[in-house]
Every structure is written in structure tokens, then in C-alpha cells.
Symmetry: C2
Subunit: 119 residues, 2 copies
């Protein structure tokens, strides 16, 4: 029998921005919750698509050739290998779905890389 995850409660226990927590596992995929604010680093995931679903606030996903603006109840899939930079002017709460092996900074690496962390 499955376990219920309440995202509002999960978010209440999260403080840092840009540090996703894995709230559920779906086969070899993760469902991750993240609080974001400000600009993240440009990066790409050569091996996988990545789903962004905005729960609250607004998220702009910048691409080299444009941007997608997402509000609550809106989602997009960043295709594998496509460079992108997520930006939020104010705090936003976002659900991510991607393979469990996916690293937050992709091929960019650097100081904003965080290990996979369960809620």
C-alpha cells in the first residue's frame, strides 16, 4: 500500500533554495520538491528530459533561444541535452520528475551541486 505525501507539509520542513528533496520514488525515477528563488546556473542533462511543474509562485525557464514562463498548475518538459537556466524573481515551489540518477546542475557541476536527498 502506498504512502501519502502531503506537499504542503513537506515544503514546511524545507528551508534552502535550489536543494531538491526526493519525496517519492517511481520505478527508477524521483519525484522531487524544490524551493527556488533567484537564478540557478546554466546547465543541461544530456541523458534525460526533466519535468518542471509549478505548485506556487512563478518560474521562468530560460533557454538559449527564448524562455518559458510557468505559474501555478503549469508544467513543461525540458528536453534532454537542452541548456536551460531556471529563474524565479520571488520564491516559487516546484515539483520535478526525473531519473533518480539526475544531478541538479547536470553537466555544469560547481558549488551549487547537491547530492540526492530523501525528504
Amino acid at each position: 500500500m502506498g504512502k501519502k505525501i502531503n506537499l504542503t507539509e513537506a515544503l514546511a520542513g524545507m528551508a534552502e533554495h535550489w536543494e531538491p528533496r526526493t519525496v517519492a520514488e517511481l520505478n527508477d525515477y524521483d519525484v522531487r520538491l524544490v524551493k527556488v528563488k533567484g537564478a540557478f546556473v546554466w546547465h543541461a542533462h544530456p541523458e534525460t528530459d526533466e519535468l518542471f511543474f509549478v505548485l506556487s509562485g512563478r518560474l521562468r525557464i530560460e533557454f538559449r533561444d527564448g524562455a518559458v514562463e510557468l505559474g501555478p498548475q503549469e508544467l513543461t518538459v525540458v528536453p534532454k541535452g537542452v541548456e536551460h537556466r531556471p529563474v524565479a524573481e520571488s520564491e516559487a515551489h516546484v515539483l520535478l520528475v526525473e531519473p533518480a540518477a539526475t544531478v541538479n546542475t547536470g553537466t555544469a557541476g560547481g558549488e551549487r551541486t547537491v547530492p540526492r536527498r530523501l525528504l
Copy 2:
């Protein structure tokens, strides 16, 4: 560059209950949107876990040994091979994530089986 999907708009174009529409593709997975009301059939998916995320309304997922009750902002993963029956007393709107090959009625089959359908 990704395409933006607004779930509120997508739901406005959907009439039938228990007939998921694929609103986005993530590698070989589908993100599906479904309106539900009443009781679905008991079934299982021997090959995959299945994510249920409630957008609005309430959804009860019955198992042979209990049930999980989900409201808005709540999600659960039904483990592969586990028999379950989704039930909604009133209309609820649910986001599903599962492999694109997943059939809505799993191994149960029958008249409520619907083909994969893009939005």
C-alpha cells in the same frame, strides 16, 4: 525549448471521466491528466509503479489491505503489481505519471480500457 502546458486549460477541454489524456512526455514516460468520479475497476500494473497526484477534489485509492485518501497537493505512488481501485465520491482532477505503455485498466482489461490519447 519546451512547450508550456496549462493544466486548468487542458482540463477545460476534457469531458469524460476515467479517460486520461497525455499532456506531456518525459523520456518514455507519460504525464497524464484525468477527471475521475465514482469507482474505477480493481486492477494492477505488474510492470510499473504509478504516481497519483491530486490537483483538486479528493481521491481514495483502495488496496486489498486498506486505503489512501488524497486531497489537493497530495500524492502517492502505487507500487508495481499491487491491486488497487481508485474511487472519487465527487469529481476530482488527477495528474498521473507512468510509462507511456501503461494501460489504464492494467491486467483487468474490460470495457473501461481506453487507448493512449494525446491532449
